[in-house]
Amino acid sequence: MTDAQSELTGTPAHAGVFTLVITGAPYSSQAPQTALDFARAALKAGKQIDRVFLYGDGVHLASALLAPPSDEANLARAWADLLTEHQIPGVACIASALRRGLVDESEQKRYQLPASNLVAPFEIAGLGEWVASTASDSRVLYFHKGA
């Protein structure tokens, strides 16, 4: 472990800014937990994360209504805390979100829905946010569901 680590960290880093795209849902897939552990390690290593983008089933990670058993991590809460602490924008793709029942107050009004369920600081926005990251120098990393 220590050998591998010292060897690896001795390499000059090409990428200093990451964008994390999460497409796997919490609990159904390991993706949100793997991405969280990766994000913590990246921040510890002095890397920046310019944006976390939730796409496809990944939008469920921004739900305010997850209530897992008390001895299991609440992944939405853990992610929300990390984003808040490090002032990282968290964006759920609007098209993915509306199809999967994840809405903020503005979408609730627009579609006359009985409630909203987006947890702060996540926001709902379009794919343009993802395009902005890909068009920048940021290294875009994907966390898909496993199988």
């Binding site: 609990y27 159904s28 897939s29 390991q30 937990q33 793997t34 001895d71 299991e72 991590a73 569901k145 496993g146 199988a147």
Partner: protein, 120 residues
């Protein structure tokens, strides 16, 4: 007129990467809790549920090793595993949970059950 169900639950996904296997185990334990006849078959990458020494806390999950070891006590009739898949993933007597019966997924095996369902 009512034919009692003999249930087989087949888990063919590897552990921890997705949740279907875990929720399928919940189904099996529920049936057993209500005194229904149920066996579990692990096949494909699902046989990896049966490896000894899983430290699931390292990825912030709970290991199911103890639950599986206690399955017969909870009333699960049998823990079956597809022999060829155990061999593929190098599961041998040394590292395979006790109480696992090696079988082959054939019409003869499935014919012993009248209610068969896969994990997700």
């Amino acid at each position: 007129m009512s034919t009692p169900k003999r249930t087989l639950i087949i888990i063919d996904q590897a552990p921890y990467g997705s949740f279907e296997g875990r929720e399928a185990l919940d189904m099996a334990f529920s049936l057993a809790a209500f005194d229904q006849t149920v066996s579990i078959l692990f096949s494909g990458p699902g046989v990896n549920w049966l490896r000894k020494g899983q430290l699931a806390a390292d990825i912030h999950q709970k290991s199911v090793e103890k639950n599986l070891a206690a399955a017969p006590i909870f009333g699960v009739q049998a823990l079956l595993a597809n022999a060829a898949d155990c061999e593929l993933f190098n599961l041998t007597q040394d590292n395979l949970l006790e109480q696992v019966e090696l079988v082959k997924l054939t019409p003869e095996l499935t014919g012993q059950f009248n209610h068969i369902t896969f994990a997700g």
